[in-house]
């Protein structure tokens, strides 16, 4: 019984810890979006880009945004096309300094934003 209680409270603590980490990630993502000057082109709301050839990021799927940023990093590193890359002089340079955690956080924050994007209308 004692073992069960310890296991249960341990599990509860773990859940609380994960929830806390997740909330912090979104805030860290917002900060990183500004720190890495993403806002300059994509807009503070991530849907008013300074050039129409730049995408709306607000509300986009988090896992897709993570994938896209990794693809820009692979492209910038000169990886072969077979490894799924994006070659883009601007986004390659912007994505290069991002850590894996930065990418996760930025994508998590972007997904929470109000957006005109939809799967279908």
């Amino acid at each position: 019984m004692k073992t069960l209680l310890i296991a249960l409270s341990g599990g509860a603590l773990l859940c609380a810890g994960m929830a806390g980490a997740r909330a912090a990630d979104v805030e860290a993502g917002k900060a990183a979006f500004e720190k890495f000057t993403c806002v300059t082109c994509h807009g503070a709301d991530a849907k008013t880009a300074t050039d129409p050839s730049y995408p709306t990021l607000a509300g986009q799927h988090k896992d897709y945004l993570v994938h896209a940023l990794r693809a820009y990093q692979r492209g910038q590193q000169g990886a072969p096309a077979s490894s799924n890359i994006r070659r883009n002089p601007i986004m390659g340079a912007m994505a290069a300094p991002l850590s894996a955690a930065d990418i996760e956080n930025i994508a998590a924050w972007l997904e929470t934003l109000p957006s005109p994007l939809a799967v279908r209308k």
Binding site: A49, D51, P52, S53, Y54, P55, T56, G59, Q60, H61, D63, Y64, V66, H67, A68, R70, A71, A81, S82, S83, N84, I85, R86, R87, N88, S115, P116, L117, A118, V119, R120, K121
Partner: protein, 116 residues
């Protein structure tokens, strides 16, 4: 005054101006204007992935395919051109983008950006 305009030299100048303007007309044709209505017969290859809620791609990681309804038209054109040229590599999108004409791309971009 009128006589001066009809002077051969004036005519030559006018001809030169027209010949300079002609290439501009050709350039305008190279970037077609998108027709969202015309895209309705061209979206079948898009909706099979982008129109299905929860649809995921699996290379090189598993992730939801992007939402493109409501996206900026010029960005969609740039993305499709990048897939066609190989600047973006993804087997399915490269194959599809290479089958599209510039007019098809403009029409699809106009259609998806109009869904707001």
């Amino acid at each position: 005054m009128t006589l001066r305009l009809l002077h051969p030299r004036a005519t030559a100048a006018l001809t030169l101006l027209l010949s300079l303007a002609a290439p501009l007309g050709v350039q305008a044709q190279d970037t077609p204007i998108g027709d969202a209505e015309a895209a309705r017969s061209k979206i079948s290859m898009c909706i099979g992935c982008h129109g299905i809620k929860g649809y995921k791609a699996s290379f090189p990681e598993v992730y939801h395919v992007p939402m493109i309804a409501g996206q900026n038209a010029e960005y969609l054109v740039a993305a499709l051109n990048d897939y066609a040229s190989g600047a973006r590599s993804f087997p399915t999108m490269e194959a599809i983008a290479q089958t599209l004409s510039a007019q098809d791309i403009a029409d699809l971009a106009a259609y998806y950006s109009s869904l707001r």
